[in-house]
Symmetry: D2
Subunit: 220 residues, 4 copies
Amino acid sequence: MKAVIINFKAYGEGSGERALALAKAVKEISEKVDFYMAIAPNFLDIPEIVKSVDIDVFAQHADAVSYGSHTGRITPEMLKEKGVKGSLINHSERRLRLADIDYLVSKFKELGLTSVVCTNNVSTTRAAAALSPDYVAIEPPELIGSGIPVSKAEPEVVENSVKAAKGINPEVKVLCGAGIATYEDVVAAIDLGADGVLLASGVVKASDQKRALEELVGLR
Amino acid sequence: MKAVIINFKAYGEGSGERALALAKAVKEISEKVDFYMAIAPNFLDIPEIVKSVDIDVFAQHADAVSYGSHTGRITPEMLKEKGVKGSLINHSERRLRLADIDYLVSKFKELGLTSVVCTNNVSTTRAAAALSPDYVAIEPPELIGSGIPVSKAEPEVVENSVKAAKGINPEVKVLCGAGIATYEDVVAAIDLGADGVLLASGVVKASDQKRALEELVGLR
Amino acid sequence: MKAVIINFKAYGEGSGERALALAKAVKEISEKVDFYMAIAPNFLDIPEIVKSVDIDVFAQHADAVSYGSHTGRITPEMLKEKGVKGSLINHSERRLRLADIDYLVSKFKELGLTSVVCTNNVSTTRAAAALSPDYVAIEPPELIGSGIPVSKAEPEVVENSVKAAKGINPEVKVLCGAGIATYEDVVAAIDLGADGVLLASGVVKASDQKRALEELVGLR
Amino acid sequence: MKAVIINFKAYGEGSGERALALAKAVKEISEKVDFYMAIAPNFLDIPEIVKSVDIDVFAQHADAVSYGSHTGRITPEMLKEKGVKGSLINHSERRLRLADIDYLVSKFKELGLTSVVCTNNVSTTRAAAALSPDYVAIEPPELIGSGIPVSKAEPEVVENSVKAAKGINPEVKVLCGAGIATYEDVVAAIDLGADGVLLASGVVKASDQKRALEELVGLR
């Protein structure tokens, strides 16, 4: 089943009460389509959503440390304990050092959490795949929030990323992100070999979030 | 009223269910003493504690950005929206750039949040006080988690920090942290001019957290 | 004597052979004007310029560590040993944590190096002044490289920065940077109370660097 | 030919005049052995060594930017212009983000510079190899400066790193670092499949640097 993961980012439109409402909308839509759908709200919104909405919840980030004398950090163990499904790792707005990406992917495996490592081009996709995460999500930074889908602007980036990742490890699933704004973009990404998409502004910043998401998954 | 703020850090003993239990214990004790008591749990534990325990809850960190296209960040506005009282800023385990500390102190003022800027010596205390936060918390890094209180190891650091901060801005309150493990340490800090203490391992890592806290605030 | 410090940045026009040529031009001009003139080339260009041009050479950055097991770092001691005069610290393109700024200012004092702490607004200027560096250089980030001088766009920022810094410590000299492109801008900054200016693109990116600098110091 | 690269770090014993003397000693020894020998002094020492000693000189770090409005940064182009051979990238004391490692490896290729990407375990070695640098240097952080060679403490880490790297890209050469203190350690690393070693404290901190290096390369 192809995946659709929605990053709520730090958008006001995806925080607090609006995060909860959006989570419920995603859940509702997920029941009508043949996609695996999941969401990534901010840390403060995670606990209530996990409790009240039956949908897979990802964190947007995790820190590469374990329980201990750290301040202002969220560890993989804390995510696990809260019932979180996994996390984005190394998003272009929260880049991590190679050793920390490796730590997180490996710790997630140990804890049964799902890792989604974000990358910016074909060669970082290859490197990320070499760490054997569950997903690699390729997002050319210049297209993030642009409304121009990578599948249209640089289809060869998607195709080559898929090839590169699967060439290293066929088990790794590849998501395609950045600029995806229509169902056609989603279909194009999948046609190029992607196992799904990573969405954000196209849904969260839409004037009608639910309608935008319905369109994105082909319900309209 | 002198302040006692307890940083739960990323300690397993201060996370999840144990965070909630500890929050309740602090609340209970706070009613029996003449201290202003507050707690700083991790982001994921904040929402439930705010909802179910009537105590001031601080974050351990905030990111120097506003709502927008940021991933894995917690903004001051999100903290405000969740009913958080304020945040530690620039803890020695989460050091920030000067411009970001300034952004946060200023944004907190605008939002009515309480800022607690952590510092490591007399001169950074002076610099932090120049930003006019609500509190400066002086914690010599070498004493953090040591069990050796700064009020004993380096009483002149506390005294000079208080003088430095008040000399810059008499409104700024000064907390004393690092290594405080007994009621005598708390009293010593206050005698040296501190407006309170910032605690962590002395409470959270204690075999009996409640008992440890009772001792720390002079109830035993 | 008012100061004119020129940051060569990582501009191609201020690197390698061109750095040496520019250094010589600055030296030549400095002999005709009543300004204290100094330059800040990149690390790799520093040694030859120090050896062959009789002008004060600053680094653009120093790392907050001493001799030891660090890789890719330049320590204050290394700068001293190479005959460097001092360094920019916390430039907006190389922001540092508060504790590291403090370490560097204090270590520079010990070594007899000159510290120039860059700041972005009035309150960070006050905080930086509280550390008692030799200079604070105020550069509103939005004006850097803009060609719009802070002395014109936000004269009150310059005036209030000078007041704030001198209010904390009258010994601290205040430079004014960002967008200074003409002699009038330099004069305006000085009229607003600045002890000098920090230049960069206005000189280094000029089609005729020498001519641009001559104009900037009032020789044309 | 097996490689021996010596990281001078920020050791006082490998800075300034002592860096030059050590560079000359390495050059002298390199003529008597069948190793490819190169050195990595700090930025400030690089120019004079490149000019006066006929040996390949590496930087310890490069910043992932090009010529432009950056302060305190050393770009790959600057290294090239100074006659530097290449650089260590992502040393455990100067960790980089994945996207920046990728930028540097790719830019180095374009400029004809040699890239040596440092890693900390088998999986990061695999990821680094996926970027196709010239060298990957595996250094388990806990062994750095320990005097305990990785080839002895964790021979399987060396063997598996070599396998992992060559499995991804047989062209990538693998160096072995951390704790190497004797000729036996060097031989052991090579026997485990390494294409050479990355040395530091074993040479630079030795009471007699030249003698230590002679021993390390089997001349004594």
